[in-house]
Amino acid sequence: MPDPHISTAKTKFAAERDGDIGVLTIQGTLDYTTHNLVAEFFGRAFAEYGPSLVVDLLDIDFLDSRATGLLIACWKRAADEGGRLSLVALERGATRVLWIAGLTAHIPVFSTREEALASARYPDHS
């Protein structure tokens, strides 16, 4: 399977493996115009890395409600498949909507990739 990297003018995707965990980075715009690409990227990531995923959103500059819905759907899928999806995001900029949407009380969110990975490796300690 080819690497699940996809790039468009507005959005960049990258993925790498860290042990059992897939570390996904999405940069740029996450909205209805890139929705299908993002969905495809997640689909490939699940196939390649399984349901333990860390999604780095630090360089997102737009996140609309449909994209938020997609993140939630992926978080649910990861849980259903016995894994865990956590996000790397800050309570400012485009990702502030995750807090406004009240999701951070339900979906694990970390301010750095290292914290997210540490928590993903030892989920019982978090």
């Binding site: 409600s65 909507v97 949407a101 999701l103 339900h106």
Partner: protein
């Protein structure tokens, strides 16, 4: 596009000082001929010369293709050409010939012909050659087969027409589902103005508001946003808006209303995500009790200061079991409360709170100008930042003459 190489290259045209090189000349002629053939094929057009009265005719190759004829059979002269013109279009054809008798042209006309058992639509651009006495000797014409082009144009027109009808229908539907009152209206203790700005690209959206009088001294105010556009979003929006009305009349508090709305979406529309802010206002003590479900903060305008009112809770339609808590604040006479959807403050690359700050600055500026009608002045000063999303705005002013009941 390998076949196009020889025409896309520029033709070298050079005049040598030592006279004309015959091989270069024939090379140039061949290139021009090829280029012409390509042009005729790509444009589905051909050239014809017709002698008048003598049956003489000369056609370029593409005309045979257009007329589904074998070049070996030779061209049709004008008289025989007339016989393949569609009967209904003979007047057009004859008129055109009559015009060319009198005028040099170019004259353009359109007619149908029978070619290879099918009708083709031809546009002709014709001009004339006359003798010294001015009599018509030849007609030269470029004939173009526009059958496919016209069919596409007609289909496009049908689609545009349907889209236009759809957009009128959706605008009417929007008005039925979410009737917007142009003039401010009164609910207990509050004067309320509302506005709905549809997305530029979609007349039917998922944003909604509700402002209703519950009884003599209580009102319900709410604004919400169903993700997406179109009928699916609008029907979910209608469900939520009707449900909220019923729940409010059943004396549910905002937190209970949101729990019920979440349950409704999970059962009836699991495909839908929605946000809302729901508030209950009691005019007797001017207490506003509210609750957010994934929705942006409200703004409270007091004097010329603006502050955020936010009591975050999770958005609707995601989790099976949710709980919300209410916050409350006591409003002052002449306070203004703003509820809105994210289209008012959202802009790609900008923090939602920066958008809120910009909005607050705009409002401060408006109220510092001391307008006579603060409610309308603020509403008129609000411009959606994201016109690709729909926007719903509700502004409520605490009526100053509300008498406290002690």
């Amino acid at each position: 596009m390998g076949g196009g190489d020889d025409i896309s290259r520029s033709t070298p045209i050079a005049v040598s000082s030592g006279g004309v090189d015959p091989s270069r000349d024939s090379d140039l002629a061949r290139r021009l001929e090829t280029r012409l053939a390509h042009t005729e094929r790509l444009g589905n057009l051909g050239w014809a010369r017709w002698g008048i009265g003598d049956g003489d005719a000369d056609w370029s190759d593409q005309l045979y293709v257009i007329h589904r004829m074998d070049p070996a059979d030779g061209p049709l002269d004008l008289e025989r050409y007339r016989t393949i013109v569609h009967r209904d279009d003979l007047p057009v054809f004859d008129d055109a010939m009559a015009v060319l008798e009198e005028e040099d042209g170019p004259h353009e006309f359109e007619f149908r012909i029978r070619a290879g058992g099918a009708a083709r639509l031809i546009v002709a651009r014709a001009e004339t050659i006359r003798d010294a006495a001015g009599s018509l000797v030849e007609v030269h014409a470029v004939l173009q087969d526009i059958t496919d082009w016209r069919r596409t144009a007609d289909q496009l027109a049908v689609v545009s027409q349907r889209l236009e009808e759809e957009s009128q229908l959706t605008a009417r539907l929007q008005d039925i589902i979410l009737p917007v009152q142009d003039e401010p209206f009164t609910v207990p203790g509050l004067r309320v103005a509302t506005r709905y700005d549809p997305a530029e690209t979609a007349p039917l959206g998922g944003d909604w508001f509700q402002a209703i009088r519950m009884d003599n001294d209580e009102a319900l105010l709410a604004v919400g946003d169903v993700a997406g556009h179109g009928l699916a979003a609008a029907s979910a929006m209608a469900k939520l808006r009707h449900a909220i009305t019923g729940l409010a009349f059943a004396h549910h508090e905002p937190d209970q209303i949101l729990v019920a709305l979440n349950r409704l979406l999970r059962r009836m529309r699991p495909d839908v995500l929605a946000t809302a802010v729901v508030a209950h206002y009691r005019s007797t003590d001017r207490v506003l009790t509210w609750c957010h479900a994934g929705h942006p903060p409200m703004l409270l305008v007091r004097g010329d200061g603006v502050e955020r009112l936010h009591h975050p809770g999770v958005l609707l339609g995601v989790f099976e079991d949710v709980e919300y808590t209410c916050a409350s604040i006591r409003l002052e006479p002449d306070d203004l409360l703003l509820m809105f959807t994210d289209g008012l403050i959202e802009r790609p690359g900008r923090d939602l709170f920066e958008g809120l700050d910009a909005l607050s600055a705009t409002i401060t500026q408006t109220v510092r100008a001391a307008p006579r009608d603060r409610l309308s002045a603020i509403m008129n000063g609000l411009v959606p930042s994201n016109t690709s999303d729909d926007t719903c705005i509700l502004v409520a002013r605490v009526t100053p003459n509300t008498l406290e009941v002690s």
